[in-house]
Amino acid sequence: MDSTCLEPSLYTVKAVFILDNDGNRLLSKYYDPELYPTMKDQKNFESNVFSKTHKADNEIAFLEGMTIVYKSSIDLFFYVVGSAQENELMLMSVLNCLFDSLSHILRKNVERRCLLDNMEGVFLVVDEIIDGGVILESDPQQVLQKVNYRADDNPLTEQSVAQHLTEKLALTTNVLQSAKEQIKWSILK
């Protein structure tokens, strides 16, 4: 029944997945082996969820007897799935933690290309937030500290362009300096 009490358990999260704006799976983890046991079931579920959620950014939905909280950013969709009786706010805290952590390691560039370029970081973040359906950590700061991952310099962002330039500049000054030095020494000889 709908109204029965929830069995006290740490297994809060049933699934997590990240889809692109065509509904293709970029990452997904299912933690309950009884729920959608085959790949086909999982993909069906994902496409059903995607078709019902991608139009309006409504934050929460209820589909196929599951509570789903979600969030979108540019061309990415993040989903956290829990049972119908689950505390919606718990799921929300997982989703927020996932999003904030990823946003940080991708340097606020939460879009598909950047995510795919840093896929290993994404895998590690998800692994640090949820372990087998149990919420392992919900504080993005802690997650980042544990993952200890930095995205590569991405020439597309302003910030990194600036950084790149200063580095280059420093390098040229260094070269100039050493050249001067060399000339000086050669003259002195």
Binding site: C5, S9, Q42, K43, L63, A84, L136, Q142
Partner: protein, 873 residues
């Protein structure tokens, strides 16, 4: 700078997916560079990412190739690149089930988990536990215990969570870590606290005392983690539920105090726990409802959703408690999240007054096409409830439902609507014609066979009794022309009912039947031929028996009996009366719309309870000669709930015997009972034939013993009897922990409550969908009539309820529902008496000071009529 990806990927532009055209074989080929020295961390990292990505996409890896890649990967432990090492752990976890011999990394992981690098330790523990089995677990037990109490939070959390995962596999080993978990629970880190609490609860959940102690400790000490608070609330409410503790218990106080917590998550959890408690009073609900009311105006959609969903549940049981929130709910009607809007409206429909119904329905129909099927079902449920509350509104509802029926939607949604319309039709006779018209229109274009057949059945039942039956014939016959076999067959049956009920339609129905006899499907042809022949006889009794009121036997029972009959060739024709009757009437049950949460589960049609008993009893040699089981009663408790031994009795009625099945449970853990039997002393001429004891009854394992009684042959009217029952047994004391009994025991006995056999035990309920036809079929040959005064009964409802439960017969034609404000009522009851004799009862009730009842009984057997009248008097 090192190039991350191949040139090809770079060229295809920034929008492309670098993983899009990955080939498994190419990736595995690339994985060979794992063996190169020195290790190139960058490239290896990228290849591992590709492998995990492929696994995540559902790519299948063969055991050999997976094992090969896995072994190559183990070399990467030589590198000290942090991210690479972490990706190795991930790969180990992902491949744990597809590669062979994953345990070869055990020593590497053990080294990492006990090493100096804190960053490695937690993830290493989690990876290690993923590949460890029970035998290996012993070897790392020491490390696990240390890790649980480690001062680094990530290490401790990882160890606790991994232990929790392993409880399923090796409970006995993990149980030994309880003290460490206890120590971890007092950690300063909030996640460690939460994980320790979760593990402790899982280890102790079967020990109620330990759980209570744990709760007391944590509720007093106060936790910092909101997650842990939520967990505590759930444990507390479960405990309250199990112990049926009153709401004055400290546990309830704790949950209520959480309503004032700083964290919204905890407040919501507490409110939801209170709302879900059974039998909560309005006063206890009030604080929970008022925090939910606050949440309704939160800027967070998830919180608004959670609040309104919970309020919706409150409204089902206590609509008045939610009335205070009506204003806040009104504001949510236009919420951009349609789920929230739908829930708000359906809640308002439950709490609002009759006058607001029209407005709300208009509002909801403006966006009904935007919401998901799940919520459409919620809307239909709300409408269904509303129709029962405000029957006068049925025309608005019916209009709305018919519009919904025309829209697109899945099966569950359509079924909910059809069920709702059917229940409206049954509740309100005046809505019957519009309802049937809508349903007719629906089946014109319905892709769901189940719904089409259901509606055709309904048309067959209700259509012939409407003022203008002829207009439905067109709709039904269209099905015969257009639909699949199952629907065609159902349509033929429906047609036959029109022909049987309405003489003026008979010729046309016969013409149509003639056509159906040319159908390409066997079943349709068979049905048409059968009905054709029955209809041509023009006999009321035949029509009643074979068209209106179908078979009332249990289908698995019929199958078994026919099989038995074919095995033993005999001269006698097959006797229908030897087949056990169906226990639950198939139609006319209350339409229950599946709750949203379970709509995913498939409905199972298992064998009925009686078929199971039939099997069980047939397995006992003493009962094999008794013939088919006629009826099994509901269990009767013969002891108080909290006594040493709990005994309940099920009465099984056979043609000439009764078997009493005593289900006994021993609740003393220091006793083993042997040779348990229940001795019975009948008050009447019943004769106890045989006792079949339960050989052994260990602590908390239920066992059954039986008593066989012969019914008196000479006096068939002696149907009721009282038995005094005593349980006799041999007690052996035993060790509560091991269950090892002493060698010798002593005889003892335990007096049970008296057991009554009443007339209801001899009658099986049978549903006659068309009572009038059945009444004519039985005829007035054995009719008897008598009048009684029921002085102690005050209302017609009460009288009807009493008669039904006393006679144990099936009310027909919905006559168990007494319309309001009426002074008289007619109750129709149908049943089959032991031995296979049909019994029909018509009771006319009139309300004056008490209730006066005129009972007319018809049956195929005279003695049965006498029995019933004698027992009523």
């Amino acid at each position: 700078m090192i190039k991350k990806f191949d040139k090809k990927d770079e060229e295809s532009g920034s929008g492309s997916n670098p993983f899009q055209h990955l080939e498994k074989s190419a990736v595995l080929q690339e994985a060979r560079i794992f063996n190169e020295t020195p290790i190139n961390p960058r490239r290896c990292l990228h290849i591992l990412t590709k492998i995990i990505y492929l696994l995540n996409q559902g790519e299948h890896f063969g055991t050999t190739e997976a094992t090969e890649a896995f072994f190559a990967m183990t070399r990467l432990f030589q590198s000290n690149d942090q991210t690479l090492r972490r990706m190795c752990y991930l790969t180990i976890k992902e491949m744990a089930n597809i590669s062979e011999d994953v345990i070869i990394v055990t020593s590497s992981l053990t080294k990492d988990m006990t090493g100096k690098e804190d960053v490695y330790r937690g993830p290493a523990i989690r990876a290690l536990c993923r590949i460890t089995d029970t035998t290996m677990l012993q070897a790392i037990e020491r490390y696990m215990k240390q890790a649980i109490v480690d001062k680094v939070p990530s290490v401790s959390s990882s160890a606790l969570v991994s232990s929790l995962h392993m409880v399923k596999m090796s409970y006995d080993v993990v149980k030994r870590w309880v003290n460490e978990a206890q120590e971890a629970a007092s950690s300063d880190n909030i996640m460690v606290q939460y994980h320790a609490l979760g593990l402790l609860y899982h280890l102790r959940k079967n020990d109620r005392l330990a759980v209570t102690k744990m709760l007391n400790k944590f509720t007093k000490s106060g936790l910092k983690s909101p997650f842990a608070y939520c967990m505590l609330i759930r444990i507390a409410s479960k405990l309250l539920d199990e112990t049926e503790g009153g709401h004055d218990s400290p546990l309830f106080d704790f949950i209520e105090s959480c309503l004032r917590n700083k964290n919204e998550m905890v407040v919501y959890e507490a409110a939801s726990a209170i709302v879900h408690m059974p039998n909560c009073t309005a006063r206890e609900l009030a604080p929970a409802v008022s925090v939910l009311q606050l949440f309704c105006s939160s800027p967070k959609a998830a919180l608004r959703y959670a609040a309104v969903r919970t309020l919706n549940k409150v409204a089902m049981k206590h609509p008045s408690a939610v009335t205070a929130c009506n204003l806040d709910l009104e504001n949510l009607i236009t919420d951009s999240n349609r789920s929230i809007a739908t829930l708000a409206i359906t809640t308002l429909l439950k709490t609002g007054s009759e006058s607001s119904v029209d407005r709300l329905m208009k509002q909801i129909s403006s966006f009904v096409s935007e919401i998901s099927d799940e919520f459409k079902v919620v809307v239909v449920q709300a409408i269904s409830a509303l129709c029962q509350k405000y029957p006068r509104k049925h025309s608005v509802m019916m209009n709305f439902l018919s519009n919904m029926l025309r829209d697109d939607g899945g099966f569950d949604y359509k079924r909910a609507i059809v069920d709702c319309i059917i229940s409206i039709i049954e509740e309100n006779p005046e809505s019957k014609e519009t309802g049937l018209a809508h349903l007719c229109e629906f089946i014109e274009d319905c892709e769901h066979t189940v719904l089409a057949t259901k509606i055709l059945h309904l048309l067959g039942k209700e259509g012939p009794r409407t003022p203008q039956p002829s207009k439905y014939i067109r709709f039904i016959f269209n099905r015969v022309v257009l639909e699949s076999e199952a629907v065609r067959a159902a349509a033929v049956s429906a047609l036959a009912k029109f022909g049987a009920q309405n003489d003026d339609l008979l010729p046309s129905v016969l013409v149509l039947m003639q056509r159906c006899m040319m159908d390409s499907d066997d079943e349709v042809r068979d049905r048409a031929t059968f009905y054709m022949n029955v209809l041509q006889q023009k006999q009321k009794a035949l029509n009643a028996a074979y068209i209106f009121n179908g078979l009332s036997v249990s289908i698995p029972g019929l199958e078994k009996s026919l099989h038995q009959y074919t095995l033993e060739p005999s001269e006698k024709p097959f006797d229908m009366k030897s087949v056990p009757l169906a226990t639950t009437p198939i139609t006319e049950q209350k339409t229950e719309i599946a709750p949203v949460a379970t709509s995913k589960l498939p409905e199972k049609l298992g064998p009925s309870r009686q078929d199971i008993y039939q099997e069980q009893l047939a397995a006992i040699p003493e009962f094999q000669s008794l013939g088919p089981l006629f009826k099994s009663s509901e269990p009767v408790q013969l002891t108080e709930a909290e006594t040493e031994y709990v005994v309940r009795c099920i009465k099984h009625t056979f043609a000439r015997h009764m078997v009493f099945q005593f289900d006994c449970t021993n609740t003393l853990n220091d006793q083993l009972l042997q040779k348990v039997m229940v001795q019975m002393e009948p008050s009447e001429a019943y004769e106890v034939v045989n006792y079949i004891p339960a050989l052994s009854l260990p602590y908390s394992q239920p066992g059954s013993c039986y008593t066989l009684v012969r019914l008196p042959d000479d006096d068939p009217t002696a149907v009721s009897c009282t038995f005094s029952c005593t349980m006799k047994y041999l007690v052996k004391d035993c060790d509560p922990n091991t269950g090892e009994p002493d060698d010798d025991g002593y005889d003892d006995e335990y007096v049970l409550e008296d057991l009554e056999v009443t007339v209801a035990d001899h009658i099986q309920k049978v549903l006659k969908p068309n009572f009038g036809a059945a009444w004519e079929e039985v005829g007035d040959e054995n009719e008897k009539e008598e009048t009684f005064a029921l002085a102690s009964v005050r209302t017609l409802d009460e009288a009807v309820g009493n008669i039904i439960s006393f006679l144990g017969m099936q009310p027909c034609e919905r006559s168990d529902k007494v319309p309001e404000n009426k002074n008289s009522h007619v109750l129709f009851l149908a049943g089959v008496f032991r031995g296979g004799h049909d019994v029909l009862v018509r009771a006319r009730l009139a309300l004056a000071d008490g209730v006066t009842m005129q009972v007319t009984v018809r049956s195929s057997e005279e003695t049965v009529v006498d029995v019933i009248l004698a027992s009523v008097g």
